[in-house]
């Protein structure tokens, strides 16, 4: 079985390196094919591992020692248990689809080979992240996906920087750096968490840590929990480290689908799930996680309401859904979080890939106000996106319904009615903006014509490649019971109270109502044609939302600019004017003293003789002073 582990893990790496070999050449078709095949191999291996885990149990493999110093011994160790197996399967499945999809999407791109190299490298990193059996291995993957994300967001690095009013993300390379740096901020927290674990437990291995959790003081556990969660907040773009995710949409769309929707951003959720023995011990932190998740859910959804950028809307919805997952995890319903994670991966990837199709058709235009009526030319895409949106909105019997509904139930069950209410409200908003997007893109009037676009459907194999996702977006939810049974072998089972059991149908109906309500509102507003209301668009709430609560500008004004100015001061004012000037000043004083002293060397003998006489007197004075002191 170890072989399978290694095949699943290293197949993407091999693919990445293979593509990298040709990275600087113009497009070679087989790089795309080979990497996709290897990804498929990885998927198969993952699926077999899933089966193995299901039937036999967890697999453990240890490749070699990595860091050995002092008492620290960190090996490259991998564990495939229930959670990992699910994650692996989801990751490799979505990745495979995205790879195949990219063959079409990136067809005309100069950096075709490079793209596949990065993409496969990402999958490898992601697999390391989920498979590692210790925190430092997780951190490898954690940083690895960060770098790949940086590479892929900045894939079109040649684009120049433009103003925020033209493009809120400024440029791909800017967005890439923003993403990387924001993640680094969170990573520091995570690193501190790792240090705490090491010095308190003496090991970074999950099992050893979890075994040691009961012996640790509560305060320490809280601290560790917070630090690890800070790491998770960065990767999963939770408030206040969320701005990078929307800007990350500068990357090619398959990247958005894979990294910024299905996999990487869920790493934070994965971490919380993985560390459930820790978080179960610290309910206050968990509750904070749930509250923060809930807040992010509605916060992101609100921004999605008014945005006109196709990808950004989906990105905000991702953010919102991540909020759901954290809420679930925070409430202790770890398996639900994982379930939503998987379901979300499928439908959100599908949604993004569909968006990619639209972009392709619209020559990379992203403004949904410039689209409309694309249903005629892009029937398949319309279907996929419709299905995905239904799933996202949580309409029965699509996947999203099962997962999201369970989360709401859990919130209700915990008697966190505030959370429940906000999430419930968010469900309505979700349905509204999802369908606002769908309607404005595919239905309503054909506005694209006035901008001179000639949309067309994408290649057939690309559409087929999307099919598994489409299918799963529909049916994945049906395996809720089996899924629960499988993963709760590792994760704590989540039992609803009797009260909730009684209420469950009412809850479902209420939720469904608001979701459908959202769709209906969207339909009324946008299905026929784009109706714009100048007054609303000029109103303060609208502007706040469309400017993302002015947070990016605030960050720039409050952190980036002052930092740059402070840096400049540090260099020009402190380093040069104080520190270095002191050094040079000492040198100058010495030299000036020399110049001054040199003046006693007048060349005039009489002066020299005077100095000798004076010297004798000075010596006398000196002698007197010393003699008095002794």
């Amino acid at each position: 079985m170890e072989t399978l582990v290694y095949i699943a893990l290293f197949a993407p790496l091999v693919g990445s390196l293979f593509a990298a070999l040709f990275g600087m050449r113009p497009k070679t078709l087989w790089t795309g094919v080979v990497t996709s095949l290897l990804l498929f191999v990885s998927f198969l291996a993952s699926a077999m591992l899933l089966k193995h885990v299901y039937t036999v149990g967890a697999v453990h493999a240890e490749l070699m020692d990595w860091i050995v110093a002092g008492d620290m011994r960190v090996p490259f160790g991998f564990t495939v248990d229930e959670v990992t197996a699910v994650m692996m399967t989801v990751v490799t499945l979505v990745s495979t689809v995205v790879h195949i999809y990219s063959n079409g999407y990136m067809e005309h791109d100069k950096g075709f080979n490079r793209f596949f190299s990065y993409l496969s490298a990402f999958v490898f990193s992601m697999l390391v992240l989920v498979m590692s059996d210790n925190f430092l291995g997780l951190f490898i993957g954690w940083e690895g996906v960060g770098v790949c994300s940086w590479l892929l967001i900045g894939f079109w690095y040649h684009k120049p920087d433009v103003g925020r009013d033209v493009n809120p993300s400024i440029s791909p390379s800017w967005a890439a750096n923003e993403a990387f740096i924001m993640n680094r901020i969170a990573d520091l927290g995570m690193l501190i968490g790792i240090f705490l674990i090491y010095w308190n437990v003496g090991s970074l291995n999950y099992q050893e840590f979890f075994a040691a959790v009961p012996q640790l003081s509560h305060g320490m556990l809280v601290l560790i929990g917070i630090m690890l969660f800070i790491g998770a907040m960065g990767k999963s773009a939770q408030f206040p480290l969320h701005t990078w995710l929307a800007d990350a949409m500068e990357g090619p769309t398959p990247v958005s689908a894979l990294i910024h929707a299905a996999t990487m951003v869920t790493a934070g959720v994965y971490l919380v799930i993985r560390a459930h023995p820790l978080y179960s011990e610290i309910p206050e932190v968990s509750y904070f996680i749930a509250v923060l998740g809930t807040f992010v859910a509605i916060f992101a959804a609100s921004m999605a309401l008014v945005n006109r950028d196709l990808k950004r809307i989906i990105a905000y919805s991702t953010l919102s859904q991540l909020g759901y997952m954290f809420a679930a995890a925070g409430l202790g319903a770890y398996w639900v979080a994982l379930f939503h994670l998987a379901a979300h991966a499928f439908f959100k990837a599908l949604l993004f890939l569909g968006a990619g199709n639209v972009m392709h058709a619209m020559n990379d235009e992203l403004d949904i106000f410039k689209m409309g009526g694309l249903k005629k030319v892009m029937r398949w895409t319309y279907t996929y996106m419709g299905v995905a949106s239904l799933a996202l909105a949580g309409i029965w019997p699509f996947a999203g319904f099962y997962s999201k509904d369970t989360i709401l139930e859990a919130a209700f069950n915990e008697q966190s009615y505030g959370i429940w209410f906000v999430l419930w409200l968010t469900a309505g908003l979700t349905a509204f903006y999802s369908f606002r997007l769908v309607f404005l893109t595919f239905l309503s009037d054909e506005r694209y014509k006035q901008y001179g676009f000639h949309p067309h459907e994408v290649q057939k194999y690309v559409l087929w490649a999307m099919f598994p996702l489409g299918l799963l977006a529909v049916i994945f939810g049906w395996w809720k019971e089996e899924f629960m049974a499988f993963v709760t072998r590792l994760l704590p089972a989540y039992e609803m109270s009797e009260h909730t059991e009684h209420m469950v149908w009412i809850l479902i109906i209420v939720t469904m109502a608001i979701a459908i309500g959202g769709i209906v509102v969207a339909y009324i507003m946008y299905a026929k044609r784009l109706r714009r209301n100048e007054r609303i668009e000029q109103s303060l709430p609208y502007r706040i939302l469309s400017n993302q609560y002015y947070i990016p500008i605030f960050y720039e004004k409050a952190f980036a600019k002052p930092y740059a100015e402070l840096s400049d001061i540090a260099w020009k004012e402190i380093d040069q004017q104080v520190v270095d000037a002191t050094v040079d000043g000492i040198a100058r004083v010495i030299e000036e003293t020399g110049d001054g002293t040199r003046r006693m060397q007048t060349g005039n003998l009489s002066d020299y003789l005077k100095w000798m006489a004076a010297g004798a007197l000075i010596l006398a004075v000196l002698a007197i002073i010393v003699a008095m002191n002794h």
Binding site: R598, Q601, T602, G603, N604, L605, S606, L609, K610, A613
Partner: protein, 100 residues
């Protein structure tokens, strides 16, 4: 009765007069006069000490100082003649090329 210290103080005063001459004089010849005064002052001190302590070393010292003074005069005047022949001046203000 004249004590030793009378002589010594005389010696000290003469030395100081010589010192004043040395630091005051600009004419090298006159400056050399002043150095002679200083050596003579020492001679007085040695002679007086020798006499009062009944020890001959002091007189010896004074004797050698006179010899040294004579030698110095020879060399010094040689130098002065050289300078005068070359540059026609004995004023030390004229010899300030080397400085700084």
């Amino acid at each position: 009765m004249i004590g030793l210290s009378h002589y010594l103080i005389l010696s000290a005063i003469l030395f100081s007069i010589g010192l004043v001459g040395v630091i005051r004089r600009r004419n090298l010849l006159m400056l050399f006069f002043a150095t002679e005064i200083m050596l003579n002052a020492a001679n007085i001190a040695f002679a007086a000490l020798s006499s009062y302590m009944h020890d001959l070393s002091g007189q010896m010292f004074a004797f050698f100082i006179i010899a040294v003074a004579a030698s110095e005069v020879a060399v010094g005047l040689g130098l002065l003649i050289l300078l005068y022949k070359k540059y026609g001046s004995l004023d030390l203000d004229d010899y300030t090329m080397l400085r700084g």
